[in-house]
């Protein structure tokens, strides 16, 4: 079945206010085009989840789309603390989000458990720290400590997570949604497979036959995918291996823009609300910074040795 659509339709049809939504990426392949669409459509009361969040989550929080955040970490990396996140927590601007905090071990395993249909998963971290003392909207279900039924020793259990929707950006997908990545994975594969449905945005749509030439790269099978959107440059200012580099100068621009509420709203107007889709975004980028700067981000080619699956 052909599931190809555009970002506006995909978000309008598959994301509801109040959903629990997994957003893939790890500086590598953040689905920024879909994130901008969520902000443009003024979705509200979302619970967002990913290990190691960055500028994409900060922007959603600043835009007022988020009620709750299942978090492990959020920063602007090289550019320091996440400004909109801090304003929300420290000053309640635009409102104070609720946080449930885990770690980069426990949260990926909670998504893995959700993907595998397990009710919970034992983890060896968090114990003895204040992370076990703070409980937010999950309450007593944040974690449980039991004596292991096997050896009687104490063991920490954390619940499985099954998001209503996952949105991810990948290098290529076929029209049915079989989605392929290469390079740093973060928790993308587990988050996508834990979700009830997935929106895949990709640098390029390829045929089912091309997917079949290297099926080991597929992280999400088509039957879990609700929509496929072709969005070249769709992860900018993050990067996509083999396509384009991180845009560090845009990272600095975002740090400056997000430093005050006023400048952040101007940023949203310029880069999200006054922009119709990703093509307009690219045109605006080239208009603002020049074609040379756009070209500079494009990846060089260094192909891997071809693989053969023949027998």
């Amino acid at each position: 079945m052909d599931k190809i659509t555009n970002a506006r339709e995909a978000i309008a049809h598959h994301l509801k206010d109040g959903d629990l939504v997994f957003i893939g990426g790890y500086i590598c392949r953040p689905p920024f085009s879909l994130i901008h669409e969520i902000i443009r459509q003024r979705k509200r009361d979302l619970t967002i989840v990913r290990s190691n969040a960055a500028d994409d989550f900060d922007m959603l929080i600043g835009a007022g789309c988020v009620k709750r955040f299942i978090a492990t970490f959020i920063s602007l990396g090289l550019y320091g603390l996440a400004r909109c996140f801090r304003r929300s927590i420290e000053k309640g601007i635009p409102h104070k989000i609720e946080l449930e905090e885990y770690t980069n071990l426990s949260l990926p395993l909670m998504l893995m458990a959700g993907a595998c249909g397990m009710p919970f998963v034992p983890v060896k971290d968090m114990i003895g720290t204040d992370l076990t003392k703070i409980k937010s909207f999950l309450g007593e279900n944040k974690y449980k400590t039991i004596d292991s039924p096997f050896d009687g020793k104490p063991v920490t259990l954390v619940p499985a997570l099954n998001p209503d929707l996952a949105i991810i950006h990948v290098q290529q997908a076929d029209p049915e949604g079989n989605a392929q990545i290469w390079g740093i994975g973060g928790d993308c594969k587990w988050g996508a497979n834990a979700a009830k449905k997935v929106i895949v945005s990709c640098e390029r749509i390829v045929s089912r036959e091309i997917v079949g030439k290297d099926p080991s790269r597929t992280i999400v099978p088509g039957f879990k995918v609700a929509a496929v959107v072709e969005e070249p440059f769709g992860a900018h200012p993050g990067y996509t291996p083999g396509f384009y580099d991180v845009d560090f100068s845009f990272g600095y621009l975002y740090q400056q823009a997000s430093s005050t509420e006023e400048k952040f709203n101007e940023f949203l107007k310029e880069w999200v609300f006054d922009i119709g889709d990703r093509t307009e975004y690219i045109n605006h980028y080239i208009h603002r910074f020049g074609y040379a700067q756009f070209k500079k981000l494009q990846a060089k080619f260094d192909y891997s040795y071809p693989v053969s699956y023949s027998y």
């Binding site: 790890y26 500086i27 590598c28 290990s51 190691n52 978090a71 492990t72 970490f73 959020i74 920063s75 990396g77 090289l78 603390l81 996440a82 996140f85 801090r86 927590i89 420290e90 905090e101 885990y102 770690t103 980069n104 071990l105 426990s106 990926p108 395993l109 893995m112 983890v123 060896k124 971290d125 968090m126 114990i127 003895g128 720290t129 204040d130 992370l131 703070i134 020793k153 104490p154 063991v155 290469w182 390079g183 740093i184 994975g185 973060g186 928790d187 993308c188 594969k189 587990w190 990067y239 291996p241 580099d245 991180v246 560090f248 260094d302």
Partner: protein, 266 residues
């Protein structure tokens, strides 16, 4: 090449102190900045068979520029294996294979507990920090944890405001009692003034060496807990020529390490 050149910076000395804690064949989980530089100095000097991994999913990367995050594009081409968080944090770290973990903290206390969550009260923080990320599991499960910190009464504390990452928690026996794996925990705090290690009996950090230009008295005054001083306290060995050569010519040709001087590492 031997000898100790005189023209080094404090961040370079700190990176070398970190490198010297790494042994050959160690499996090292690194973040950006100091950890990467230290681990790579070790690889280019005394520990050529040490292997690095990043929590994002990368094992044995071969970056051609300094990685600015653990998800940096330059970590992809040339790596020996790339998966994701479940692979590195789950299979390798929780699986018990990681020898050395490197952590930095906004606040570090005498037991090596680290706060990267919030300064002040958690519910209404004076300053909200990024959160645990990979720090808590690394501090819980790596066999040997190295901590980098600024040495002043703002960054060091008798007790951190919030324990994000466990050191020795409440002191001797606490990690074992709670069920953290045996023979894990912080081994050293490398500051811009000296190197602190942890007493086997009290699990409290004491002064082992002071950096050239610092003194025992100065460091004791800058430490918010009653700092014990090693019987054989001595000056930190300055960077060796081969360590600086690896750092400057191979690992950090653009001298990005200098940004740490602006952040107070002097």
């Amino acid at each position: 090449m031997t000898g100790h050149p005189n023209d080094y910076s404090k961040p370079e000395l700190m990176a070398c102190c970190g490198a010297r804690e790494i042994e050959d064949y160690n499996i090292v989980i690194v973040g950006t900045g100091f950890p990467t530089m230290s681990a790579n100095i070790a690889r280019y000097t005394h520990a050529p068979n040490a292997k690095l991994m990043q929590e994002s999913g990368v094992y044995d990367a071969q970056p051609l520029r300094p990685a600015l995050s653990v998800g940096d594009p330059c970590l992809n081409p040339g790596a020996a294996m790339i998966g994701g968080l479940v692979d590195v944090m789950g299979m390798f770290l929780q699986g018990g294979w990681v020898d050395v973990g490197f952590l930095a903290g906004s606040q570090v206390d005498k037991y090596g507990n680290i706060n990267t969550t919030a300064i002040g009260n958690y519910e209404n923080p004076k300053s909200r920090l990024p959160g645990s990320g990979g720090a808590n599991p690394i501090g819980s499960l790596a066999k040997k944890v190295l901590i980098i910190s600024l040495h002043d009464t703002r960054h060091l504390a008798e007790r951190v405001d919030f324990i994000t990452t466990p050191g020795y928690i409440d002191g001797p026996g606490t990690r074992e009692k709670l069920g953290l794996p045996p023979n894990t925990g912080p081994k050293v705090i490398i500051t811009n003034k000296g190197v602190l290690r942890f007493s086997e009996t009290t699990k409290t950090a004491y002064l082992d060496t002071y950096h050239p230009g610092s003194s025992v008295d100065e460091i004791v005054k800058l430490t918010p807990w009653k700092l014990d001083v090693s019987d054989d306290v001595h000056e930190t060995e300055p960077p060796r020529a081969e360590e600086l050569k690896a750092l400057r010519e191979i690992l950090d040709p653009f001298r990005m390490i200098n940004i740490y001087e602006k952040r107070g590492y002097v």
